[in-house]
Amino acid sequence: MTSTVAPVATPTPPSSPRRSRSRGTRRGEATAGWLFVLPVILILGTFLLIPVLMALWVSFSDWTGRGSPLSPSVGFVGLDNYAAITTEGGLPTRDFGIALRNNAWYVLLVVPLQTILALTLAVLVSRRILRGRGFLRTAFYFPSVTSSVAITVLWLFLFSFAGPVNAIIGSLGGDGPNWFNDPRGIVHVALGKVGLSAGPDWLTGGQFLGISGWEWLAGPSVAMSALVLMAVFTTSGTFMLLFIAALQNIGYELTEAGMMDGANGWQRFRHITLPQLRPTLFTVITLGLIGCWQVFDQIYTGTQGGPAKTTVTPAYLSYTAAFQNQNWGIGAAIAFILFLIIIVFTLLQRWVLRDRPVSRRRIRAYQPRTARTRLPAEEATR
């Protein structure tokens, strides 16, 4: 983020005569500047920077939640807390593994679904001739403004065993599951339908973070799937607005040129619109990834990690480890690993969607003759 933002930080230097005069008249400017940013520095420093450093210390300590973590009776235990959740193979490792698995499946489903849905909605409501456009945009965006607690309460009702969703599935001749009480992974359920109810030995044998390969591949539980649908429902509106804004900024000329060349609607979208949406796509996917690894409110309000721990996420596990089980070191360690995961995904995403340099020869092929001859001159003036 720093790299994209940094250029904005340096304002264009004002012309020299004005500068010299204003230096004379603005003697108190530096003092005023510091006074103006002081509240922000104090609050961000006290409630963000110091806490992060304190938590980092706690993650290397054996603090049990009594007294101050900075008191001399608290001992330094090195990487013990980190080892407990990653390599030791006990209950904390297993819990962390389960939380990672749950959240990974959640990310794997939510990010593509919400991106595709948001893009689809944006394209549909961005058509130049459309009745009820304002109404539709409002309808699609509204879930995004409501609180996660309120939506979760609504979702618990919609997906309850005798709730509206199952009633609708029933009226269509189907048989709805007991959503929030069903711990079966949906991949396992699907495999069970074709008669595969136990994994092959090579999958059930090996373990990673205390969980067998077969369990890793279980898929999100039915309960988690309901939460996946909720996330898609609530975030697609926000991202739709981002795509709408991007679509509005795309010039119509290229699309029109595509029409002249006889490209059909899909071809125009795929080869003209989509490439221009690349930066927005990057933003949406990154924000989606970051958001999805932070699922907490929904779990706290709705499932408390159940059924059978299948909706525990690292964020929720970090909370329960510290605040309920008083394993503060482990809770803090989980939080920092989560932090790392989020940063890695952000960087990875940036790398995958980077602008690949086009070779000089190919660039030349796209440039009209006049522009090509002018290029060195332009270079010189810069």
Binding site: S22, V145, T238, A245, G291
Partner: protein, 303 residues
């Protein structure tokens, strides 16, 4: 979550609008079918997005038995406001509502003031260390909120602010994304007006307060929307900063309702009524500033 989502929304709220040229399109049979399909799809999607909220309000007005027997219908057979009476007369719900309102108003006012103050200084005032301060603000924006649950508790506890209004409000009072938004905005408006006032002898704060701030109305509205929505919907911070029932906010209270603390049985009408009421203030805000948020080309307010 606050910083990332608020940045998303800020990007949306401050987007300029360009109106695509309209063209007359001839109606061929293929086009008519296409249009019918398009509107059918949109209608179906609209139902999927709206129905949950309609059934929520409908169920909150049903009796418990009816909510269980006929969860789908949108019209209660026996219309009852029992759930609302119970919430307002026989539960802590009014207290939660007051707490949420107090916190939201203070946080929103504080953020508007502090964030625009800092944004102005970072955009306009020249002082040593400005670049460092701005880099800090940007770095802070990248820290995910859930990672801060334990850290925030540790510091509030250490400072003796745990379980107090101060502990609930102070950490929310400043928002890095807001500083970022205001700084960008101030850089986009010309400095000439301020220069004039300065030459007339006005002090820096006076220039900021009576000349710059009134010009910043569109950006301030953005900050108000984001702060109000953010603090009204905030849950995790209140979980780690309070424990006494007197300081429970709506989000925390309704979350405890959801896990069934006030009730025997499912109590769906009660829970859905609570969730519906807590949605109202944000919904009102949303509809007031709707044109600004939705940025439709029919009537966009210039940003």
């Amino acid at each position: 979550m606050t910083s990332t989502t608020s940045l998303t929304e800020a990007a949306v709220l401050t987007q300029p609008t360009t109106v695509a040229p309209r063209r007359r399109v001839r109606l061929t049979p293929g086009r008519v079918t296409g249009q019918v399909l398009l509107y059918a799809t949109l209608a179906l999607l609209a139902i999927v997005y709206i129905y949950p909220f309609l059934v929520q309000v409908a169920t909150s007005l049903k009796t418990e038995q009816e909510a269980a027997l006929d969860p789908v219908s949108l019209i209660p057979q026996t219309f009852t406001t029992a759930a609302y009476e119970r919430l307002f007369l026989h539960s802590d719900f009014p207290l939660w509502f007051v707490n949420s309102t107090v916190v939201t108003i203070v946080v929103t006012l504080g953020r508007v003031f502090f964030v625009s103050l800092a944004g102005y200084a970072l955009a306009r005032l020249r002082f040593r260390g400005r670049g460092v301060v701005f880099a800090l603000v940007v770095a802070v924006m990248a820290v995910p909120t859930v990672v801060l649950l334990i850290p925030k508790f540790l510091v509030l506890n250490q400072l003796g602010l745990y379980d107090s209004y101060a502990g609930m409000i102070l950490p929310l009072l400043v928002d890095a994304a807001g500083v970022f938004i205001m700084k960008n905005f101030f850089e986009s408006i010309p400095a000439s007006v301020e220069e004039q006032a300065r030459i007339d002898g006005a002090g820096t704060f006076r220039v900021f307060w009576s000349i710059v701030l009134p010009m910043a109305r569109p950006a301030l509205i953005t900050i108000v929307i984001l702060s109000f929505q953010g603090s009204w919907n905030e849950l995790s911070h209140f979980i780690v900063s309070t424990q006494s029932p007197e300081l429970t906010t709506l989000t925390k209270g309704v979350a405890s309702l959801a896990s069934g603390q006030l009730s025997q049985g499912t109590q769906y009408p009660l829970k859905l009524a609570a969730a519906a009421i807590m949605t109202i203030p944000v919904a009102v805000l949303f509809f007031i500033f709707q044109r600004r948020i939705m940025n439709t080309s029919e009537g966009a307010v210039k940003g």
